[in-house]
């Protein structure tokens, strides 16, 4: 029976995802909601992405320097940091930070909207609740997470530059040249953005689905928030492996 329940749940989530895509019709109202959501879940996530990116850049630089120095290849540190960030760390960690910051808030908001009859009221006013409250959040996440990933990389590489050049003493010209030679625009840089768009969409869909279908109680909202973070994080980690295997040479 758990298999049947899981299959049914998966089917419902798939139909919900289709309904989000079907409800995504461009209109003045849709774009107004989209801009508001981009500000709420994107712009307001910038501080944690900045801090996260900087510290990941610092940590990878320190770890990489200690390993590369053993082989006399310390000046290759920017290649390690660049490839590590673009290929894996930035898309995944940005998505995980986004899920913790914005995914949980999407699930909580929709859960509370359900508990306070706001979603029911929209339906009774002949307004499709999915079009009104879910679609703008989904597209905002698809747009924001790649941009946040770029921001994460910028802060990570800037922090790495500071540590490698000003603390460790690697030549600044070498740092940038090695980075440029190692990171390919199409296969590393753009793929990071593609992965991020998938992660953003996944995070928003999972958070919206559990929030939208939450039990209309305080406990239901709490459960939905937890489920959003756990399920979306695990899905992002799984999708990351699949996408890395498919997209990177």
């Amino acid at each position: 029976m758990p298999f049947v329940a899981a299959t049914r749940s998966l089917g419902r989530a798939g139909l919900f995802s289709l309904s989000v895509l079907r409800a995504s019709k461009p209109s003045a109202d849709f774009f107004a909601e989209l801009v508001r959501e981009i500000y709420k879940i994107g712009a307001r996530s910038l501080p944690i992405i900045a801090v996260g990116g900087a510290f990941v850049g610092l940590s990878v630089t320190l770890l990489g320097y200690r390993a590369l120095e053993t082989y006399g290849a310390a000046n290759q540190i920017s290649a390690l940091v660049g490839l590590g960030l673009y290929r894996e760390l930035a898309p995944v960690l940005t998505a995980l930070l986004f899920i913790g910051r914005a995914g949980s808030s999407i699930a909580a908001e929709l859960g509370l909207m359900r508990a306070t009859d706001q979603i029911t009221a929209l339906g009774l006013m002949a307004i499709d609740p999915v079009a009104k409250v879910v679609a703008p959040r989904f597209w905002a996440a698809v747009i924001c997470v790649p941009l946040l990933t770029g921001f994460f990389c910028s802060l990570g590489i800037s922090a790495s530059y500071f540590e490698a050049v000003h603390v460790i003493g690697i030549d600044a010209g070498t740092f940038w040249q090695v980075l440029r030679d190692a990171v390919d625009y199409r296969h590393d840089f753009l793929v990071a953005f593609e992965k991020s768009a998938v992660f953003g969409g996944t995070a928003a869909l999972v958070a919206s689905y559990v929030g939208y279908h939450a039990e209309p109680t305080i406990e239901g909202t709490s459960v939905a928030t937890t489920r959003a973070v756990v399920n979306a994080s695990l899905l992002v980690l799984m999708f990351n492996f699949v996408l890395s295997a498919l997209l990177f040479r």
């Binding site: 009859d117 029911t120 009774l124 006013m125 002949a126 307004i127 499709d128």
Partner: protein
Amino acid sequence: MPVATPTQDIAVRLTDVRLDRGTRAVLSGIDLAVPRGSITAVLGPSGSGKSTLLAALTGELVPAAGTVEVFGQSVPRRQRALLELRKGIGVLLQGNGLLTDLTVAENVALPLRTHTRLPRPVIDRLVAMKLHAVGLRTAGDLYPRELSGGMARRVALARALALDPPLMIYDEPLTGLDPIASGVIMSLIARLNASLGLTSIIVTHHVHETLPVADRAIVIANGHIVFSGTPSELEATADPLVLQFLRGEPDGPIAFDTAERSREAA
């Protein structure tokens, strides 16, 4: 009595309707005809299935048997047709359902912005008129969290009236309101029904506040309609089941078993 009313004068008709929640029948054998222009009070104890009946009228719940017609049209099951039907039905929910991230004026404007192509100044004017009708013309810039319970209910009423629906459904409009706010809401319902030529269905357990404005009353208990008639007929009834409900007596044909009744969708 409803059978004698000509079809075109009927706003809502339920014929031998059975409504289930899960596998359990909450209401069965429901026959009801609501005349156009009337105020009908649907009364009954908590958990008797009043809100389930309301869900059938708005198409949220598909009847397990029988037919539900609104203005001569069967309540459709297809989502698009259902949304179209709902444009002609205003619903005041027990929890108001005001969008908390919108101001009062934006809440009232929402159905107008979504379903009409009216220019912004016209919508602003209509919103002001709707808020004026419920006595809240100066509250447009407030957010729902800044309103009292009675004010929020009136804003929700203004929003439900935004598209001038011919049918208004009120789900427990007096719950959580003090006697003065209750009096204001009931007089508003009566005044709007008369002045706008609406048909109103009030789902409530507040008997004494509702009967003075109602043209007809039905009482639901134990899964059936146990009374249908005018308010004066209701007050004169000798049915022990109805009398227990009207007098608020704990002992009688209606079991005071909250666990049992709460399982029936309220």
